[in-house]
Amino acid sequence: MTEMEIAQIIDTVNMYELSCKTNSGMKLDNVESDAVAELDNHFKAIGKSGHDKDHEIASFVQKVINEEVYNAPDELLDGMFDRGSVGEFDDFESVVMPVKNTLVAHEAAKGGNVDRSFLDISVVKPIYKNRQVETDLSFADVRRNGWKSIALLSEYAVAALKNALFYDVFSMIDNGITSGAENYINETSTRPTQASMDALALYIQDRRDMANGNGRGQIVALSKYVQAASKLTGFVSDDIVNEVHLNGALGMYDSVPMYGISGAKKLGDGSLLIPDKRIYGIAGKVGSLQMKGDINVYQHEDTNKELFHLKFADFTYGVALDKTSLDMCAKIVLA
């Protein structure tokens, strides 16, 4: 096979999909089978010589990550944030729009003055997070498994980065909503009750923009809480029971869609995808999430230890949200 054919494969086949299909053993179509055969031979040759002249392993993984993490839409995050990207050496500021109406209409006698009131455009500076993953790929592994080892690495790198981003975003939202604020709903038991779920749903209903396509808002929580919210005592009907029986949980609570995050999926270090003991209600966009620059995948050949060292660096993103924009989000804190 020639260099041209490899380049053609990268352009025509969705590398992330190919990686996932390889990892799960799904049936490939003709184009994909050919692609896998070429890639397999190519990587096995690299594993044999221990020399990856053009850092192709790194560039393959980088392409997969770019396709999936930077370019793929994500329903949940897209509904919560203004998404975009800024250059590696850029900065950005976010404004809370529309501006909150803080003009006050004072009751007044005619012919005099009242205190002035003002509008303030709240400008939010982002907090940047930088995440990095490093791993080793032995020559023997690449020699034996060829394309499969690259596919595994690619899919898992994407998942690790996406999950880290998700976790960071929800942690910032969690820290931004403090006790005593209107959007902090305290629940004294370990599971949500009708009182706290009603308060959350009401908070969202008051603020969401139904005219907008995605305007219903969403409730996001670990699946165990969505399950509990689907089975509240007293608020039942045959329809509700049937839906829970068929689907496992209610799709909506008081007209707000519920989105359960699996408690079994964990980050690489064992922590859950979103903070425990929390139920989040999102009424609209809470801020701005911008990817900063591109991820860089660096590769180093270690012929003495017979491995490729891979470094996934510069996965940087900025999250801009503050007290005012967080008005669009509420949380229930469980005991």
């Binding site: 500021e93 404004v95 909150k100 803080t102 003055n113 009242v114 205190d115 002035r116 009131s117 003002f118 509008l119 303030d120 455009i121 709240s122 400008v123 007290k323 005012t324």
Partner: protein, 152 residues
């Protein structure tokens, strides 16, 4: 931050004094006519005090940003030597500042300029009365009215 709440719109505040030290808008200062500088009072006083203000004009890199909050640092921080506008308030004016060391228990008391530029409870005669806190789009300012001179 200094906000005019109910004032005479024909006042002519002095703009030819430089700041004698690093300060912020809303702070209370006295005029040093010899050095032509605005300085903090040497001891707390309510006589001949002025409030620091500056025009909200973005400069340099900051001008590239599309929106600015009135509370942005560049509009409110004053460096030593920078020229400032000194607002004076007269009988029956009402204004608000965020440079204060007051609590809700001090509402209704006469106040004066402290030695750090912040408004404090007055120990002598003062014409400035603290009428309560003013919520300016989420920021808490102290609302002050100018009344007949009195003591606490």
């Amino acid at each position: 931050m200094l906000r005019d709440l109910r004032v005479n719109c024909a006042a002519a505040p002095a703009a030819d004094f430089a700041a004698g030290a690093d300060m912020a808008t809303g702070m209370a200062v006295v005029k040093n006519y010899t050095a032509k500088e605005a300085e903090f009072a040497s001891e707390a006083t309510a006589t001949d005090i002025y409030f620091v203000q500056k025009a909200r004009i973005p400069v340099g890199r900051d001008a590239a940003m599309e929106y600015h909050s009135d509370y942005d640092k560049m509009f409110n921080e004053v460096s030593e030597g920078e020229f400032v506008v000194l607002y004076a308030y007269n009988y029956d004016d009402a204004f608000a500042t965020d440079a204060y060391t007051l609590t809700s228990g001090d509402v209704g008391k006469y106040v004066a300029a402290g030695t750090d530029g912040k408004i404090v409870v007055a120990t002598g005669t003062s014409k400035y009365k603290f009428t309560g806190f003013y919520d300016d789009a989420g920021h808490t300012l102290a609302r002050i009215e100018v009344v007949e001179p009195g003591t606490n």
